[in-house]
């Protein structure tokens, strides 16, 4: 299994310093404060797989994505992609070579394209950055191919981003991500700014491209239905920790962790089975002062003494890996 793992994230953590300014602390008193956005997250992504991270806002899924592509320094742990440790300063040269094989697609196609550049220049930028010696004619040809690949017209290259709709802009973002011929693409909520009919177009396109270029995706989303459609494995995050990792069928048919159950229960039911649901209680707690033990215990209907004092680890349970004392002790 480890043989084919393209991405190995091991014990990844990220802490943000959210203290008030030094002078205020000196005069008004008060301690330094830290926000643990990501706490000891580990997972593997195999070649050709779509690994999805789901969770509510503030669960740390985007922070993980940013660290994996190297946009955000880590506070602890390792990210090994194809044998190269991204956080090891002695492997800088290898990391540079690796960079072109990793790309990212962002949530907001309105903010992630430079409004003053023409589309062909935007898409050519990764080619220019990684292969500065390619002649202009070849670059133009490749940009044209890329535009066709994502369902746009090669002549659209002469336009500016504002001339396109949201869905078309996301297609441009995808074309740009594909320009450096990457193997691994991190997608941070790629469709949540889009309407459903456009979302369907983009999701279908992403799947087709995955088949064509055998891409590996790390797919971040808060929409469980989208994740079910796209992912081969799903990790559920809560307050900076992974609470459950499972295949889609297992996760949706037999969710193990109480948080996963709650989340699945909360989704509006399009099939209108008229099922009764338990009302979810409470909201995500403040991550600066997370609850002791299991972070979910204040909202958990199955919590008992051990949950309040001891933080559960991800352990194999059924077909999934679950971080829950109740599941481990077979109370559930």
């Amino acid at each position: 299994m480890t043989q084919s793992a393209l991405v190995k994230v091991d014990d990844l953590s990220r802490t943000f310093d959210v203290s008030r300014p030094w002078l205020n602390r000196l005069i008004e008193g008060g301690e330094k404060e830290f926000l643990k956005a990501v706490r000891n997250v580990s997972f593997l992504i195999e070649k050709g797989e779509t690994f999805a991270l789901v969770g509510e806002s503030g669960s740390g899924k985007s922070t993980v994505a940013k660290m994996v592509v190297g946009l955000l320094p880590t506070s602890g742990g390792n990210i090994v992609i194809d044998g190269v440790n991204m956080v090891d300063p002695s492997q800088k040269a290898q990391v540079r070579a690796l960079r072109r094989r990793i790309q990212m697609i962002f949530q907001d196609p309105y903010a992630s394209l430079n409004p003053r550049w023409r589309v062909d220049r935007i898409i050519a930028e990764p080619i220019r950055a990684f292969e500065p010696l390619v002649p202009q004619r070849d670059v133009d040809a490749r940009v044209g191919e890329l535009l066709k690949l994502v369902g746009l017209d090669p002549r659209d290259g002469r336009k500016f981003p504002h001339e396109f709709s949201g869905g078309q802009r996301q297609r441009i973002c995808i074309a740009r991500a594909l320009a450096s011929k990457p193997e691994f693409i991190v997608c941070d909520e790629p469709t949540s700014a889009l309407d459903v009919s456009v979302q369907a177009q983009i999701l279908n396109l992403m799947r087709d491209l995955q088949d064509e270029f055998s891409l590996t995706y790390l797919f971040i989303s808060h929409d469980l239905a989208v994740v079910r459609h796209m992912a081969t494995r799903i990790g559920v995050m809560y307050l900076g920790s992974l609470v459950e990792v499972a295949k889609p069928d297992d996760l949706f048919n037999t969710p193990q962790h109480p948080y996963t159950r709650m989340l699945l229960d909360a989704i509006p039911d399009l099939d209108m089975t008229g099922r009764e649901r338990d009302a979810v209680k409470g909201e995500i707690p403040n991550p600066i002062h997370p609850p002791t033990g299991c972070a979910f215990h204040p909202r958990c209907p199955f919590a008992y003494d051990r949950c309040r004092s001891e933080k559960p680890e991800l352990k194999a349970g059924g077909n999934a890996r679950v971080a829950c004392h109740a599941v481990e002790d077979r109370r559930l």
Partner: protein, 331 residues
Amino acid sequence: MTDIVLSVRDLHVEFPTRRGILRAIDGISFEIRKGEVLGVVGESGAGKSITGSAIIGLLEPPGRISGGAVYLHDQRIDNIGPDAMRRVRGKKIGMIFQDPLTSLNPLYTVGRQLTETILTHLPVSAEEAEKRAVGLLEEVGIPAAASRINAYPHQFSGGMRQRVVIALALAAEPELVIADEPTTALDVSVQAQIIAVLKRLCNERGVAVMLITHDMGVIAETADRVAVMYSGRLAELGPVRDVVKDPHHPYTKGLMGSIPHLGGEADRLVQISGAMPRLDAIPTGCAFHPRCEKAFARCHIERPSPISVDKSRVACWLYEEEKIENRGGAA
């Protein structure tokens, strides 16, 4: 029928611009009965929110109602002038907007905002108003309401703030609540709580609700009837079960198919090619025809008006033709 709370008849809204007049709403009609939840769905730019703003008289200038009428019970409310409209708004029509942070005044406590609304619209004393405010907060599920009443909006979380907004919308005991994307800014677990609160309160009080959202899941759970909008027109209007499970209009069919399902795994999502037309380039005939697989000659020229198909009203020539064929067969 006296139980019709809101009746919108052939409403037109237009925005004059330098380059010409944009028709944002082009002749839509619907009714909402007492205690009913009417869901309004559509993609961005379909005119859902403009419809809501037009009904409550809060269209952003230069937008204006250029035709049709809006009736609240028997009173026409689209031409009564800003002062009279202000008395209707808040008293007879409550509003819930998408972002709970911007719809509350950050400088006043939650209690003050509630009592102010109650005192403006209802003939009660200050103490009575405060008692009602606490009662409302309890009803929307805010724990320890009596002490939270003196808190400021920033001291509440997103979900709690939206509960306060619901309390505010219901404060003057309105007959109609217009909820514009009430759960879009919230996480799913909180979203379910808010929908439950909204549904329970409106049911108990027999308030009619116009629920505007792009989330079909929310509609399927909450609404009694659904109106599907496309390019400022009604594509289909019918009971929620029919629209979701057995849609008639090709656009509704595409829309439903493009939603990823939690249940089974479909390999590919149905996709509607293209995008909604811009307001300055709405096609002739049926606005959907350039994207429609079933379009035929008539769709290019003539605009379909809604006709009854089963329990729904559908604006599509396919069904008109079918009817004629059936009639021809019978005769």
